[in-house]
Amino acid sequence: MAAINREDVAHLAQLAHIEMSDDELDRMANELAVIVDSVKSVSEAAGDDIPATSHPIPLTNVMREDVVGHVLTAEEALSGAPDAQDGRFKVPAILEES
């Protein structure tokens, strides 16, 4: 696994919409590098015969029947919204004029 550098952290921060100062970027680059190193030791422990897992608990097929259950009212749904109009969530315009 390639080391994590400062540019990688800046790129990830941008993708994740996290604003970070120069100091924070420096610090996170170092901290993440340590984490990546630690994860690397797991790869060394697991041989080729160990399949990748996506979940720590060996469960499969946890499913529910197609039956309508709990539903919120529009008022309840909108109760935490910063802004609402006509029973809908109101959000800022997403794209600038092009």
Partner: protein, 502 residues
Amino acid sequence: MSVDTILSFDEAMEKYDPVLGFEVHVELNTKTKMFSSAPNEFGDEPNTNVNEVCLGLPGVLPVVNKKAVESSILIGLALNCKIAEHCTFARKQYFYPDTPKNFQTSQYEDPICYDGWLDIELEDGTVFRVEIERAHMEEDAGKLTHMGGATGRIQGADFSLVDYNRSGVPLVEIVTKPIEGAGSRAPELAKAYVAAVREIVKNLGVSDAKMERGNVRCDANVSLRPHGQEKFGTRTETKNVNSLRAVENAVKFEIQRHAAVLDSGVLITQETRHWHEDTKSTTSGRPKSDADDYRYFPEPDLVPIVTTAEWVEELRSRLPEPPAERRKRLQSDWGYTDLEFRDVVNAGLMDEIEETVAAGASAAAARKWWMGEIARRAKVADVDPAALGVTPAVVVEIEKLIAAGSINDKLARQVLDGVLEGEGTPAEVVAKRGLAVVSDDGALQTAIDEALAAQPDVAEKIRGGKVQAVGAIVGGVMKATRGQADAGRVRELILKTLGVEG
């Protein structure tokens, strides 16, 4: 907004070879959403079919809808796909207000269905095989309405309103492999492919399959390469082309636009394009960029789906007859010509005719009524023939009344009008309107005698052997009986009266 230069389609085809690819999203018609038990209903009041999961509130846990998984497997089987024995869900991360969690739960490396194919029959009977790369499960996003601005489009909007009723509706995304070799038939193939997918999911009963409601949505990828070149050109992806005609037009337009760009020596920008039905053209969306780094990772809140051979085979046993095979069987059973059958299919009347034949009418009579009088009235009323209100049982009863000699074709049309006006069954309409054919020979004889007396010269001609002149007398009798006579019987009686051999 600049208007793109385009080449004529013929010129584009002379110079370039198109390669297509499609992503078709199918909304499933399950009662509940993909990962929550909130209702999956179209057209309800905004934000009334949501719960905490659809709103992406903190701390909620998704649970997979078993019916949606089974519907996805059915789609895969109908598309001749392999079904994964083990598959997982993944988070596709992006920021957009239609997705309240800031990620869409989808599948990434291991889709539930993969490696399929679908044979597409073009209008002239040419069969073209489209390879299916994968069909995976995911969830739909909420619906944004852009407010303010001049056009109601996203550009220039002041703000947007969001309805999350659609958020979390189960989706199956069907992705083709690159489609090569379609040549000048690419636009037609594009339309036929989407039509075939729509027909399949409708036939399976897993989707309402209404394109106008967005139940089936198509993103069309187009690239061009010079003839003889193996390497694909740069592609564009035209988003949300939401009618069959638009799919055909959008593919055609992009081919023509690419050809003009390439001809001018410029490279195609890999980007999304937006289709505009009003101008029948596409405009640039956004170029592929860093923002398309979706940082997929395995969904930690959902465990893998494991399919057993037993489960898959049980689902396979539920598959209905494939639409293409059904069409072949019905055409052969009914003895229609290719043209007759195509007209029936295009009119959307295959089911009605099948039911009418099953209810006892001949295939010819069923076609005559549905494609004739019923289709004509539907056109006047501006509805689909199937939605006009005539049932197969009505057609069968009218045919029986004709066969029994109770009514003739002309009266049958009035009976149909009566049924449509809510006067009851065909027999009831006949009784109420007094439409029965005059079959009493005595009454007919009186009318015949009068008609002959009114046209003595014609009567003389017939006596002299000019049998074809009998039409004028028949006409007179039909007029006198207001059309309620059996013209054949009238003709016989006239000739008998005059002592002439028919």
